[in-house]
Every structure is written in C-alpha cells, then in structure tokens.
C-alpha cells in the first residue's frame, strides 16, 4: 500500500560536487519496498518545485528503520535537497512503481552509471539476501563519481569503469571486459543511468540473447498513475513509467 510519510533527515553525506546520499528516518515503520521502487519527495521552500521529485530507493535498513536516497544535483529541487541537514523534515510518498526481477542465479550483471547507481545497491542487497553474489559494474566520469564501493562489495563482485581511467578500467561501462565477453554467461542484465549507457547494455544483451531490465527516468507529475504524463512507448502501447515501470524489460520497449 502506498503511503504518505514524514521523514526526518538522519544524515546528508556529500559524495562529490554533484552527488549526495540522504539517510531518512520515518515517523512509523517503513513499508515493504522492492528493489527498483521509488519515492516521490516533496521539496519545500523552493519557488519552482511545486511538483514532487521522483527518486529511487538506494537502500533500506529495516533494523534501523532507515531509508537512503542517492541523489544528483541537477536543478532547483535536487539542490534544495542537497542543502538539508540533520533534523530537517521531508515528506515522501512510497513505495511507488514495480521493481526489478529478483533472480535465481548469481550470474546476473547490475550496471549503474551516474545517478543510475541509485537503485543498484538495494537490488544487490535483495539478491544477496537470497544467498547469491551478483556482478556489479559501476561507471562514472571520474574517480570521485564512484563511492561507497565497500557496500556493494558486501553483496557481489564489483568492477569500476571511469571515463578518465582515474579508477578501475578506463572507458565506458560497455568497455569493461565483462561486457566484452564473447560468450557471456549472464542470465539477466540490469541497467540504470544515462540512456546511452542503458542502450549499450541493451545492445550487449540483445547480441547474446540475455534479457535486460532497465529503470527509466521519465518526467512525472504524480508518480502513482493518476496523471498519465509519464508514458513510455511499449509493445503494448503507452504504459506508465510510474506504475507499469520504472523497470521495464527492454523487450517490451521499442529500443
């Protein structure tokens, strides 16, 4: 059941000049959240952000009752969020959307680029909870774009690419050996990030007939199926990114 919940900011960690992680504590127990689901955040005190902002669930700690969001500063709304400090309040609607398929095999590859790494940590956690160890590939422009690797390493086998080679392999995620394999053994690919990156993962999947799930970041007015603005063109016609997605198997998309 979708809920509207008030949260308190527990911490706001600056990762680099554009990314930060908010840890939030709700005023009641967190509802059950699937990996790939998102929240709609109300940004107060900003004259140009009437609508809520959709943000993926980055991680959930049910023991501590804490929800984390991994956010990139792009405009006024996310800038305001970046300025929150401990004790500030934040109103969220959650959980929204569908979620990724949780696999039965460790032979799956999670690819995250830029703020597309956001949903990958919680996905990795959910996969690891089944006793599996997925492959996790994180891409960035430069070293400082990649952070908190230890958290991912707890759940799977991690590799990094940076465009300037300052960390891990030099290049795009699609340049990494994992995605250069002639006969890859992956059962499922997951991608979230800039569209060219997701398309590259999809091309890799297509070539080797591996299903690919992507999380789309369409603009949204409501986030819960009421406005019909967030459509994506699928084989079944227009579907709602907020309700039928944000996760789609690329076979359904006209990619």
């Amino acid at each position: 059941m979708k809920q509207i919940i008030d949260f308190t900011v527990v911490s706001n960690k600056t990762l680099n000049h554009e990314h930060f992680v908010l840890e939030l504590k709700p005023d009641k127990p967190l509802p059950e959240i699937s990996a790939g689901q998102f929240v709609e955040v109300r940004v107060d005190g900003s004259e140009n952000t009437m609508l809520r902002r959709p943000i993926s669930v980055h991680d959930v700690d049910y023991d501590k009752n804490i929800l984390s969001l991994f956010i990139k500063k792009v405009g006024e709304g996310t800038r305001h969020l970046s300025e929150l400090t401990e004790g500030d309040n934040l109103n969220l609607i959650l959980p929204l959307g569908n979620g990724f398929t949780i696999p039965d095999s460790s032979n799956v590859l999670l690819v995250g680029g830029g703020c597309g790494v956001a949903p990958m940590l919680y996905l990795a956690r959910k996969i690891a909870e089944k006793g599996l160890r997925p492959f996790i590939l994180l891409g960035g422009k430069t070293k400082t774009d990649i952070s908190g690797i230890a958290a991912y390493q707890a759940f799977g086998k991690v590799a990094i690419t940076t465009e300037d080679g300052s960390e891990g392999e030099k290049g795009f995620v699609s340049d990494h050996p994992w995605m250069k394999q002639e006969t890859p053994d992956f059962k499922l690919l997951y991608a979230c990030g800039p569209e060219p990156m997701m398309k590259a993962v999809n091309d890799f999947g297509k070539k080797h007939e591996i299903d690919t799930e992507v999380s789309l970041e369409h603009t949204m007015a409501c986030g819960f199926g009421a406005c019909l603005t967030c459509v994506v063109d699928t084989t079944k016609g227009h579907q709602l990114t907020c309700k039928d997605g944000p996760v789609f198997n690329t076979k359904e998309l006209k990619w």
């Binding site: 509207i4 140009n48 459509v231 227009h238």
Partner: protein, 303 residues
C-alpha cells in the same frame, strides 16, 4: 454541525469538493490515500469513442507554480470503460461523473448515449475545451456556433445531469457560457487548462512533444476566479469552479465568486489527500465565520 451539502442540478453532493478530470485517474488510484466516498464527487478521465494512445512522451513540463500537460486524452475508450472500469467504480458512494470528450459531434454523441445507460453515473461533464488534441476538443469550446451545436445534440441523447466544461482560451467566456446554457447545459464547470508552452533553453527545443500544452495549477487561479465570477454574473445555472485550488481558502474564494462546488486537479499530484483536507478546512472556516450552511457562501462576495 454545519451543512456541507450542495446541489448541482439533480446531483446531491455531500460537500462541494470534487476532483478534476485527468488528475484523479478513475478513483482507485487514490484508494491508498483517502476514502473516495468522502468526496462530493469525482470526474473520471476524459473518455472518447475509441481507445486513444494520446500524445507521445514528453507530456509534462513544470512551470512557475504550475504545470503544462499534453496527455491528449489517452483513455481506454467508452466500451472498455463500461466493461472493465465501470464495474470497479460504480459502487463508490459518491457522484461518479464521466468527462466526455471527442473529435466530432458524432463521437460526443456516441459516448454520451452509452454513458447515459449506466445506472450509477448520474451525470457527465462535456469536455469541449481540451487543448491537447488536434481535432475537436478546444475547437468546440472556443466558438459559439460549434459549442452550441455540440451541446444541443448531446442534450438530445443525454437525459441526466449535463455539465459543460468551458475553455479559458477565449476572448469572452460569458458569451460561450450563455450559448451552452441556452443549448441545454444543466451546469457549467470551468476552467479547463490555459494553452501554454515551455522551452528547454539548453536543448533549444520545446519540452512537450506537442510543443504546446495545457497550463494548470496555482498559477492559473487568478484567471479561473475571474472567469467563474464573470460567468456567475452572466448565467443562472450552478457552476463548478476550478483552476489552481490547493487548500480550503482557495475553495472558499471560488464559492464566494459564485461556484456551487469545485474540482481539484493538479494539487492531487502534490498531496493526494488535498481533497479531504479541503473538506476539513471548509468546516473550520464555517465555524470561524459562524456560517451554518455552506450554500450561504455561494456568490456571497461583498461588492
């Protein structure tokens, strides 16, 4: 106990708060957040003769205290509505109205006639003001002869409460209001969205796939209030006011200007509980001002 009941023609509303078409899905989208039965009424998504895919993505742009949409009447079509949606929502204990849209008079007639047969739908809102479709829609609502024609024809086939929704994209809204009232509208609702546009300066391109779209939200409230007030002074049928409402104060303003009830649209996206908060807010206002019957507020603006 204050009285919140108001009447729109034969419709009895338990309070003046309704939801605006296209912003409330079919109702169940809000079941997690509120009891839809608490509302005076809901108006479901614009429904056309055939299923419509609507416009391509992107369909939304945020603007200062407002938003543009270019949904373009995406909907399942009247037959699918009747077979699949109606059974799910017919037992809401509130007025469930259908927003009837079309590209041709025949399409309006087809939809109106089919909806007329649905026992639990006590009225329709005739959408002659949608700015987001190429044919029909707003074109009907911005010229007197075409507005008159479509309303007259629909009146012949539709026997229950006929509400006509007016476009704000006109030189004189009272002209159209008079014409459609004479053509048989039982009530009027206003305003639909203002035609607007948003540009991405960095990409140097329009944000919406359709270039222009419909502006809604608090930004349009002053225009909406003005039109409700003008129309209230021009015709004698009940009015349903809307445009930028997000709290009880806004509701009261529309009622003072002459609205019998209101519809809340865009604000549902920001706070899915805004409608029930408005109901509570109206009660508090009435108590503070010693008003026993909400009907006393309708058109009560001191001049």
């Amino acid at each position: 106990m204050v009285n919140l009941n108001v009447n729109i023609d034969k419709l009895k509303l338990k309070n003046p708060i309704m939801t605006a078409s296209g912003t409330f899905g079919y109702g169940p989208e809000f079941d997690d957040f509120i009891h839809v039965d608490d509302l005076g009424g809901i108006v479901v998504k614009g429904t056309t003769g055939k299923h419509r895919e609507g416009n391509p993505y992107p369909r939304m742009a945020e603007t200062p205290m407002g938003m543009l949409n270019a949904v373009g009447l995406q909907n399942v079509g009247v037959d699918h509505f009747i077979s699949d949606i109606y059974p799910q929502i017919k037992d809401y204990n509130t007025n469930v109205l259908v927003n009837v849209s079309g590209s041709t008079i025949d399409e309006y007639l087809e939809v109106a006639e089919k909806i007329n047969a649905l026992e639990k739908i006590p009225g329709i809102e005739l959408n002659i003001s949608c700015p987001n479709v190429k044919e029909g829609g707003m074109a009907f609502g911005t010229s007197c002869p075409s507005a008159q024609a479509v309303v007259e024809e629909v009146r012949k086939v539709y026997k229950k409460t006929l509400i006509v929704k007016l476009s704000p994209n006109v030189t004189d809204v009272t002209e159209i209001a008079r014409v459609v009232t004479e053509a048989g509208a039982d009530a009027l609702s206003l305003i639909n969205t203002l035609l607007g546009m948003a540009i991405d300066a960095e990409k140097q391109s329009p944000i919406l796939s359709t270039v222009t779209g419909g502006l809604s939200g608090p930004a349009v409230k002053p225009v909406a209030l003005r039109m409700v007030w003008q129309v209230a002074n021009a015709v004698d049928v009940p009015l349903i006011g809307m445009g930028g409402i997000r709290n009880a104060t806004d509701v009261i303003e529309f009622m003072l200007a002459g609205a019998t009830a209101v519809e809340i649209g865009t604000a549902n996206f920001v706070d899915p509980q805004v409608t029930v908060k408005c109901i509570d807010g109206i009660k508090a206002y009435m108590q503070r001002h010693g008003v026993d019957d909400v009907n006393e507020l309708i058109g009560a603006l001191r001049k």
